[in-house]
Structures are given as C-alpha cells and as structure tokens.
C-alpha cells in the first residue's frame, strides 16, 4: 500500500511540470479572454454612446447585455479546455510509452519493483484520474474569479450576471461538473472505465507488438459491445422493453464488469506477457 502511494506520487510528479504549465495556461488565457471580451464590449458601447449618440438603454436593446456566456462561448475560454483535454488524452498513452522509449528504459525499473505489478497499473490509472479531477477543480476555482473580473470591468447596467452554477449549466462544462452525486459517479465512472480499457489495449500492444495492436483494438471493441449490450439488445429487438432506471442499473453493472475485466486482463498481461 505504502509503495502504491509512493508510485502515485511519483507518477504525478513526473508530469507535474507540464501539468502546471497547462494549469497556468488555462488561467492566463481564460482571464485574458474575459478582459479582452469585456474591453471589446465596452469599447463598442463607448463608440455607440459617444459617437453614434445612442443612449445606454438603446445600446443594450440593440446589442444586448454582456454576460459570462459571451466569454465561455469564445475560443479564449474553450481553447485552453480543449488543449488540456487533448494533452491528457495524449498522456494516457504517453504515461506507458514514455517508459519504453528513449535510451533510458524506465520500464525495467518499474517491473522490477518489489511490489505487485498491478500497483504500477493502478498508480498510472489513478494519476490520470487525479489529473483530470485536478484540472476540473482548477476550472471551478477560477470561474468565480473570472466572473469577478468581468463584473469589475463591465458596469452593472451593461451586464447580466450569472452564478457559477448557471455558467456551468449552460455550457459543455456541465459534463465535467455534474450537478448531482449520481451524475458525478456515472460520468466519472464511465471515464474511469474508458481509461482502463485503453490502458489494457496499450498493454496488449506492449505485450504482442504488431499482433497486439489488433488484439488491443479487438479488446476495445469487445469492451464497448459488452458495455452497450443492454441498449444494443433493445435496438436489435426494436422494442424498448426496459425502463430507463433499469437501463441505468444494467449499464452501471456492465460498466463495473468491463472495468474489473480490464484491470484483471491488464494485470495478467503485466505479470505474464509483458516484454521490456
């Protein structure tokens, strides 16, 4: 257990530099976005009021109030999220492959640690998971901050204020920040499952090389089929014979089965089939 915690700590610290850059980039770009958007709106208002001689009310009637939605819809806001997402997806693969590539092959060390190899697998899994949660938390923390910046730059008359939860709900962010605990478990559970499937597919490739790529793709396909079996069966039969709550229950069960299966297969590959 102790070694597992150390491994997680180690895996996190290996990516920490890039991770912090991602966090910093998100904060800087998003806050800049708020400032840029707010300034643009205000300069438009100024032009309209002082040059076109519109009254404040006329301007607001014509162009609408500025809201945080104007920021979240922009590239300034979504760009960093997209980059962070892409980086993490890339790192899902790199967290394994970096140990094999280069002249210093760290995988030797990891596989020779006096601890169950499953811990290596689980520590990488947990690290990715924690990094996702971390980025989401950062987003949640900086949202009110960005909201305040907006309030500070745009006078009350010109803006329609939103609470943080309103901001989240009107945005793709709502996937990342579920409103209920059940949703949280379902969304992140599904993400976790997807992660185990990909990890195990990577280990297939690492164990059997070219044949392993096919095995890995096959494994992903099988996992997906098992997971969507309840929905798929209804689709095939052409009749919705299950209540939504029953589907949810079945899907949860399937998700757990697929996750456990992936970890089990991954553990088997790491112990019996892996090649440095």
């Amino acid at each position: 257990m102790n070694r597992f915690v150390k491994l997680v700590n180690f895996e996190l610290s290996r990516f920490m530099k890039i991770y912090l850059v991602l966090v910093a980039m998100t904060v800087v770009v998003q806050v800049t976005g708020v400032i840029v958007k707010a300034n643009k709106y205000m300069s438009k208002a100024n032009t309209a009021i002082y040059e076109e001689m519109l009254s404040r009310t006329e301007f607001i009637e014509r162009y609408g109030q500025m809201g945080f939605m104007d920021v979240t819809r922009s590239l300034w806001f979504m760009g960093p999220i997209a980059i962070c997402t892409a980086a993490l997806i890339f790192y899902v693969f790199m967290i394994w492959y970096r140990d094999w590539f280069g002249k210093n092959t760290f995988i030797y060390r990891l596989l020779m640690l006096p601890t169950a190899r499953l811990n290596v697998y689980l520590s990488k899994l947990l690290s990715i998971f924690l990094m996702v949660l971390g980025l989401v938390s950062v987003q949640l923390i900086i949202l009110p901050l960005e909201n305040s910046v907006l309030k500070w730059l745009v006078p009350t008359d010109f803006r329609s204020d939103m609470t943080v939860s309103q901001i989240i709900n009107g945005n793709p962010l709502s996937m990342l920040v579920p409103q209920t605990f059940t949703e949280f478990v379902l969304y992140y559970g599904a993400g976790f499952m997807a992660l185990t499937i990909v990890f195990t597919a990577i280990l297939f490739e690492r164990s059997f090389k070219w044949k392993g790529i096919i095995a890995g793709i096959g494994y992903v396909a099988i996992s997906v089929v098992i997971f969507i079996l309840p929905v798929l069966s209804m689709f095939i039969v052409g009749r919705a014979y299950l209540y939504p709550l029953e589907i949810l229950g079945l899907e949860t069960a399937m998700g757990i089965i697929v996750t456990v299966m992936s970890i089990w297969v991954g553990n088997y590959l790491l112990n019996k089939k892996i090649t440095v």
Partner: protein
Amino acid sequence: MIEVKDVKKKFGRKHVLKGVSFTANKGEITCVIGINGVGKTTILNTIMNLTPLNSGQILIDGEKINKHSYEKITFIPDAITMLPSMTIREAMQFMDDFYDSWNQERATELLGFFKLKETEKINNLSKGNRAKINLLLGLALDVDYLLMDEPFSGIDMFSREQIADVFTSHLVEDRGVIITTHEISDIEHLIDKSVLLDNGVVLKEFNTEDMRETEGKSIVDVMREVYQQ
C-alpha cells in the same frame, strides 16, 4: 542458486532460446559468454520476468520469481534504468523509497569509489559514468543475486578497470553474480564459471579453475574448441 531449466523463447518466428539450461550459485561469478545476438540478454530478461518464456522453468533458491524476489535478486541492464532528468541523489532516493534492501551506506561508498557527485544529472553523465551509476543502483541493494548485462561494453578503458575492480571487492563477495559478455579478456581471471552460449543453446558449462587445473585450458581455449567445431 539460480536454476535455468530448458528455457525456450521465441520472438515471432525466431527461436532465440532453444532450451537453455544452466545454474548459477550464490557466492560465485557465472559468466554467460557468446557473440551478440545469441540470446544472452534474453536469458537475463527471462530470469527477471521481464519477458515471458514459451516453455521451461526458472527457479531462484527453489522458487519461481515473485514480487518479493526483487528484494533478493536484481538486474543491471546495459542502459541505465532511471529517468534521465533525475540527479544521482534523486535516483538513490527513488531506490531507497521502493526497496527495503537499499543500502545507502554502500551507495555512498560506491559514489566515492567511482568519484561521482550526487548532484549531477544522469542526463549529463558520460557513457562510462552512466554505466557506473547503473552499476551503483544495483550493487547498493543488499541482494543475494546480481545479474549484469555486458557491463563492460562501449565504455572507456579506465571505467572498465574500475568496474572490474568491483568484482574483486566485498561489493560482490558472497553474492551470486551472472554476467554476460562477448569479450572475456577484461574478466577472465575473475569468473568462477563459464556458460558458453551459441544460437540459443548452451554449448558448454564449466568451472574455469577446474578447466585450467585438469585440462590446462584457458576460457579462450575452450571457446575456440567449442565455437569452431
């Protein structure tokens, strides 16, 4: 004792090990000799369960390798197994964190012996010095068995001499060592047992002093006989 019993291993269609058997005793230096590409490294990898074997069995003190074995046996591959971005100190810290058998006192001693500073980054070390740190990370574990893959290849003469000196010291004494090499001359006087490997099979396994005593043959003499048949 490490027992390698009829180990077979293929990569794709290529049979790398075609039934390799030999033993290596504790307190002895066993040398697996063979030209490049005859499966020397693969043998060490299979002993450490770093690659699966197709058939056969490997026992370490009578048991199959498991997670606890890594406190008892260690492997020094031909490239360093630490992150290049680490300093020597960080690498040692990593070992200390994960291995109960890590002996910091010995590591410090080795660092002095090799005249290396722990603040140096692995990435910035010369090839010879990197090999020494690689060796240090293995030797400073209080393990019964040490496997080394070509510790002398591709490094300068003085580093080679320093590394050879390790074998005559208490750092290796009483442990079981398996070393692979394609170039015997550096260590001909040091090894207790030779295992001549070619094309995935063991051609001959012999005690070097006994061979000199009873047949008056050097290791190279035996190699010449065996390989040129």
